[in-house]
């Protein structure tokens, strides 16, 4: 017979361990709609910088061939094109006029803490577009569309 106190203690411990994990992350949907720029599929590097402007990590890479990553200049400069930065968060390039929706489980610590989400974009035989989008990650900014400089018609994140 297991003492009641031990069962309660075990339950309290597992709850205490589980709750912070649930509270520390939330699903966030990033929606990126491209212009009809009349070219091939766009490579997009979605990444985050910290309050000091230093690269904090990547959230998504649209485009699977590493030989083209040098055309995403800011991301490439920060990472050296290291595939380990984007293992498990890489998908196909995005066609002109298409909308890419990515839902990620993101850490709460990214929001309202001075982090900025950036997107670099590149299209074959067209101009590279570093820092196509740069939006601060805040709870207030959720749902507000941002316009890109060249290839991205609109970008929003929703929580």
């Amino acid at each position: 017979m297991i003492p009641m106190k031990s069962v309660l203690a075990a339950l309290a411990l597992t709850t205490a361990l589980t709750l912070p994990g649930l509270a520390m992350a939330r699903p966030v949907t990033l929606t990126t709609t491209l212009n009809n720029y009349g070219g091939d599929g766009a490579y997009l590097a979605v990444y985050v910088t910290d309050p000091q402007g230093a690269y904090a990590g990547s959230l998504w890479m649209a485009g699977g061939k590493s030989k083209y990553y040098e055309h995403l200049p800011d991301w490439y400069r920060a990472t050296g094109g290291d595939p380990a930065q984007i293992n498990g968060i890489t998908g196909a390039s995005v066609g002109a006029g298409r909308t890419l929706e990515i839902t990620l489980d993101l850490a709460d610590a990214l929001f309202d803490a001075g982090y900025t989400l950036h997107i670099d974009a590149a299209v074959e035989n067209m101009r590279d577009s570093p820092n196509e989008v740069a939006v601060p990650l805040t709870t207030d900014g959720a749902g507000r569309p941002a316009r890109g400089r060249r290839y991205i018609a609109s970008f929003t994140y929703a929580m």
Binding site: G21, M24, A25, R26, D40, G41, Y43, V48, A56, G57, S58, L59, W60, M61, G63, G64, K65, S66, K67, Y68, H71, G81, P83, A84, Q85, I86, N87, G88, I89, T90, G91, A92, S93, V94, G95, R98, T99, L100, E101, I102, T103, L104, D105, L106, A107, A109, L110, V123, E124, N125
Partner: protein, 124 residues
């Protein structure tokens, strides 16, 4: 006298060092079951040597100038007018590896992701 002895010792050591492996590496009839560790090393090396076909055909990639002109990226000489669409040929160039696609491995542990759940993607 000491000098002579030293020379003799040195020359003997050299002879042994060179001669024993060479002797051991010499071919013997197949039915000789005696173990020959040094010969075995040489045999392993021979098996591992790649078979290279040497051709006098001048195959020096100077026939693809058209492809080079067609791509500003220069390193794409695979005759398929690569348009950056993911056509599953997975040709990492220059030895660079392509990243693992979403869903095949967990997202990186960069502190940005919560519990390692795979991303959900939709293209409209």
């Amino acid at each position: 006298m000491k000098k002579t002895l030293a020379l003799l010792v040195a020359s003997t050591a050299l002879t042994v060092a060179i001669g024993v492996p060479a002797w051991s590496a010499m071919r013997v009839p197949q039915d000789d079951a005696k173990p020959q560790p040094i010969a075995a090393l040489f045999d392993d090396g021979q098996e591992a040597l790649p078979l290279i076909f040497v051709s006098d055909d001048d195959d020096d990639d100077d026939d693809d100038r058209e492809d080079r002109r067609s791509s500003r990226y220069g390193d794409d000489d695979d005759d398929d007018d690569d348009d950056r669409e993911d056509d599953d040929d997975d040709d990492a160039s220059g030895g660079a590896l392509n990243p693992a696609p979403a869903g095949t491995v967990a997202p990186p542990q960069n502190g940005l992701f919560g519990n390692g759940a795979p991303p959900q993607i939709q293209v409209k």
